[in-house]
Amino acid sequence: MADIAEQIVDLVVEISGEDEVADERDIDLFEEEILDSMAAIELLVAIKDEFGVSIAPTELDRSEMNTVNKIIARVSERL
């Protein structure tokens, strides 16, 4: 579980180029403009490559994956 969390934090930091998400896992990634819709798609692709978890583009509402912790939860429940 901790591993998954670390890996996802790394992915978000890598894609967004913002380090602060590592410490603040509950900030709204879209409102704070850490991710935009293109970066979100890139994240979905990376999650599929890394964990083999495929999340369809219309599967989740933005409100279901707008923080690092929510993304960790969505991936964990699908593993």
């Binding site: 890139e42 692709v45 583009p57």
Partner: protein
């Protein structure tokens, strides 16, 4: 009988709504009722031209059959999970192709023969059916019944011109029993939207049309006349379509179904991306979800572009050119699509790269200037759409 135009439609809506009210207040489910009413209304829409009636009926039947095949091949493929992905997704390409064929044939066919077979609402039903096929493929739709699907496709308030509904929201709506208060809440909101929509369409659009024809006569032709005509045309487009959409949303609510909102004050948008979040929302979100996002996902995982920005710009172009072509394969619509694709790509690139924008975008003066530029761009887009630019230039 044309929906939302002929008086007969409104006269018929009254008893339909009254029966729905009684059933809603008695907490009876409206699912079957709205299916029966929709089938009757579609019959009335098409019965004057029997060929069209038969075409629409066959289209519905084939769509339901395609849904069945999609469900079946999904189950089949989940049993053989180790088959290569390309092999498994091939049948969906074929299914979506068959689903798209009548619309594509119609759009191309009318160029050759203006009376090429089609039926009112074929564009909108295609959007709904393709959404279902793609989401069956994604494993998001597994248990929608055939009758629910038929009810979704034939739902008469949105049949002819949208808003484009989404099947999962629809199914959730018709499956959730409504309490009396829950129904009354939808009823009141529905009546409000219906009245507002009627005002938009029959007062707002009528005034805009009057403005569009009368004022140019007073000010004469030339550039000023052209500007006034285009302004009136844009306002007419908005009031007519937003009015229609609001009435459809209202009627849907009276039948207990939430229909997605299609317009949200588009003329306050301060950039072109925001405009598309507010104008014909159900179309732009459909294209975003099923064209832009899927294209981007494909492009990123196959590393087609060096940068995310390039990928987004190509995605915007693809999205909007498709949108233009969907309106019709004519120079006016194609240029309209291309124009909005360029605007979106340009806007996106500017927001990502222009430091001045990042520094000042929240300043009041910048927002006002940005709004003004956006509105000029939007109305020029209406001029393209309405055939006030390309057609005259082509002679």
């Amino acid at each position: 009988m044309d929906f939302y135009v002929e008086p007969a439609f409104f006269v018929l809506c009254a008893p339909i709504a009254i029966i729905a009210c009684v059933m809603g207040v008695l907490e009876r489910p409206l699912k079957r009722y709205s299916l029966v009413v929709s089938v009757v209304m579609l019959f009335l829409l098409f019965f004057r031209t029997p060929g069209t009636l038969i075409y629409a009926a066959v289209y519905l039947a084939v769509s339901v059959a395609l849904y069945g095949v999609a469900l079946w091949s999904r189950e089949d493929s989940s049993r053989s999970e180790d088959a290569p992905h390309g092999m498994r997704s091939l049948p969906y390409g074929v299914l979506v192709g068959v689903q798209l064929l009548p619309l594509v044939a119609y759009k191309v066919g009318v160029l050759v023969r203006p009376d090429f077979p089609g039926f009112l609402g074929i564009s909108y039903i295609t959007f709904k059916a393709v959404q279902v096929l793609l989401e069956v493929h994604d494993g998001l739709i597994t248990d929608m019944t055939y009758l629910e699907y038929l009810g979704f496709l034939s739902f008469f308030p949105t049949f002819t011109s949208g808003p484009i509904m989404r099947s999962r929201a629809y199914v959730q709506d018709v499956r959730t029993p409504l309490s009396r208060d829950g129904y009354l809440d939808r009823l009141y909101r529905g009546l409000g939207w219906f009245v507002l929509g009627a005002l938009y369409k029959f007062v707002g659009a009528a005034l805009a049309q009057w403005f569009m024809w009368f004022v140019p006569v007073v000010v004469g032709g030339g550039v000023l006349g052209w500007l006034v005509t285009v302004f009136g045309y844009g306002m007419d487009l908005f009031f007519d379509f937003a009015g229609y959409s609001d009435m459809a949303m209202g009627l849907g609510l009276v039948l207990g179904v939430e229909v997605p909102r299609n317009f949200r004050a588009p003329f306050v948008a301060t950039d072109i991306k925001e405009f598309w979040d507010r104008w014909h929302i159900s179309l732009s979100t459909w294209l975003r979800d099923f064209v832009f996002m899927r294209f981007s996902q494909f492009a990123i995982s196959h590393k087609l572009f060096k940068s995310r920005l390039t990928c987004a710009c190509v995605g915007f172009m693809l999205n909007m050119v498709l949108m233009g072509a969907w309106h019709g394969i004519t120079p006016d619509y194609l240029v309209y699509g291309l124009y909005h694709g360029l605007l979106l790509a340009g806007c996106h690139a500017m927001q990502k790269k222009w430091k001045f924008y990042k520094a000042h975008r929240r300043d009041r003066w910048f927002m006002v200037a940005s709004w003004a530029v956006t509105m000029v761009a939007v109305f020029f887009g209406f001029a393209l759409f309405g055939g006030y630019v390309v057609t005259p230039l082509l002679g």
